[in-house]
């Protein structure tokens, strides 16, 4: 699944390179003819902007997948019986949960090298890949905390019953505790997904070519008229709204159905 997501990102990222140069041609056109109304400008560039939006979604899915897997490991580490593992996992969880997402993104962008060399093989690490890692750090910490909360909210009778049935600790966790946690974790997990989707626009600040970057480029290509800012950014907001609102509705419905207090 991750491999698929990464492939998707690569494809979209490659598709974007020419798209970024494209606005050069229509500029001369726009200056010679009468200025277009905001609506026609938005409609004209909507396909390009939507392509950027798909890139945002791919980043969010990939970092959510990566963050969830590492977060579950970290969460299990938090309930480990080895004291130092539990302490260390707790520290990492709190550290990444309490720092702003933008700062973590900066951290990933500047601290991860642009390529790594293993033996004679050099693997380039493009910007979008570093952005995915940057977003998966806060996801990891939040999932870890969700898992700990879910496990703590289970009645301790579950553990005792499993023990009396001669389950080992590993078996108890995998066969009894974690399946029950899924139901408790799903609504907040979806909430987190919608938050990370909305956070992907931060990547534009560190120079990844996603929707807001394209929006700024489109604005420049249309002659940089100040009255175009509101419709263009409004369109970007609308796209995210159309994607995140159904998710939040679904989350609310699931919360009601599972009747789990979050």
């Amino acid at each position: 699944m991750i491999a698929f997501a990464i492939l998707m990102v690569a494809q979209v990222a490659n598709g974007q390179a020419p798209a970024g140069d494209a606005p050069a041609a229509p500029v001369s056109e726009a200056t010679t003819t009468a200025p277009a109304t905001p609506l026609t400008v938005v409609l004209k560039w909507a396909p390009l902007l939507l392509k950027g939006f798909i890139f945002n979604i791919v980043i969010s899915v990939a970092s959510m997948a990566l963050g969830t897997i590492t977060g579950l490991l970290l969460g299990l580490g938090q309930i480990s019986q080895r004291k130092w593992v539990a302490k260390l996992s707790w520290f990492f969880t709190q550290f990444f949960r309490n720092s702003p997402w933008l700062v973590l993104l900066f951290f990933a962008m500047f601290m991860i090298p642009f390529q790594i060399t293993i033996g004679s093989v050099t693997i380039p690490l493009p910007d979008w890949f570093k952005a995915i890692i940057g977003f998966s750090l806060p996801v990891m910490a939040n999932v870890s905390e969700l898992l700990r909360g879910a496990i703590r909210s289970l009645p301790s009778g579950q553990w005792e019953a499993a023990e009396s049935l001669a389950f080992t600790r590993t078996q108890t966790i995998w066969k009894i505790i974690l399946p029950q946690c899924v139901k408790r974790m799903l609504p907040p997990w979806m909430n987190l997904y919608s938050l990370i989707t909305m956070a992907t626009v931060l990547a534009s600040i560190v120079g990844v070519g996603e929707m807001l970057t394209l929006t700024a480029q489109v604005h420049a290509a249309e002659g940089g008229r100040p009255e175009l800012f509101a419709p263009l950014y409004g369109f970007a907001g609308l796209c995210f709204f159309a994607y995140c609102w159904p998710i939040s509705k679904l989350t609310q419905r699931l919360e009601r159905r599972f009747n789990v207090k979050t």
């Binding site: 309490n98 720092s99 997402w101 900066f106 919608s194 009255e227 800012f229 263009l232 950014y233």
Partner: protein, 259 residues
């Protein structure tokens, strides 16, 4: 490097010692200019948080009150506001207000007779952060208000309180206690969201740090310092809010004793 200055104060000499002995270039210690930039960055982050916190609380209280209104239009408007602001990226909101709306508003003349925008970037940052956090606060206060038993409100009505009077003197003090944990979470979130003001060049902590690491070429060091500073700021806020939560706890209400 910068350590040959004539008059060194205590902090400067610590910074120089670290640089000489470990090679860690903490310019915020041994360089006075960088130190002042960093401190004013922290100050701006705190200022942004406190002011937006204040306005977002007001939005939350007023919004939650209006949501219980008898007029359907008012309720509908408030719900639209919440849904819209919760489901769009805060950065897009900031850009929308700072670039979009700011350019549609009339300009004013500043002291030198230059054309200046009606609101500065700091004010726009406060404006959009307050709206963003306020949208969450309305929901949080509403859940707290719903937790207040109807019989309490009826008792207040029987004692001759008006709807507003009941809200201010009876419902709100109880509701705040009920929703404090959720409110804490949101305020911590607000503090973290202030870093987005970086995008519109508000000189807050992240912006100041970026300037420092571009000038001093000490990216990894400043990065770690920046992360630790934010963790410390959030830590202080969480500690203070938890203390407040404990002191406000109603005996025999909720989980009692502030958890």
């Amino acid at each position: 490097m910068a350590c040959d200055v004539a008059s060194v104060d205590a902090i400067q000499s610590v910074g120089c010692w670290i640089l000489d002995n470990t090679g860690v270039n903490l310019t915020i210690l041994h360089d006075e200019f960088d130190r002042n930039r960093f401190i004013s960055g922290i100050g701006m982050t705190i200022y942004l948080s406190v002011v937006s916190l204040f306005f977002s609380l007001i939005i939350g209280v007023v919004g939650a009150w209006a949501q219980g209104s008898d007029f359907r239009v008012v309720r509908w408007l408030i719900n639209g506001f919440i849904v819209l602001f919760r489901n769009t990226p805060p950065l897009v909101q900031i850009f929308f207000f700072y670039f979009g709306i700011s350019n549609l508003l009339p300009y004013i003349e500043d002291a030198d007779g230059m054309r200046a925008p009606l609101l500065t970037n700091v004010q726009w940052a406060i404006f959009s952060l307050s709206l963003f956090a306020g949208a969450f606060n309305i929901e949080i206060f509403r859940s707290g208000i719903e937790a207040v038993p109807n019989s309490t409100k009826e008792a207040a009505a029987a004692l001759g309180y008006t709807r507003l009077g009941t809200y201010i003197h009876i419902v709100l003090p109880l509701a705040i206690r009920v929703c404090l944990p959720a409110l804490n979470n949101n305020l911590v979130n607000l503090l973290k969201t202030t870093s987005l003001a970086y995008a519109i060049a508000v000189p807050e902590l992240l912006y100041a740090s970026k300037n420092i690491w571009t000038d001093a070429q000490n990216v990894p060091t400043m990065m770690v310092v920046l992360l630790l500073t934010y963790v410390a700021l959030v830590g202080v806020l969480v500690w203070a809010m938890n203390a407040w939560e404990r002191s406000m706890a109603v005996p025999g209400y909720g989980q009692g004793g502030g958890r």
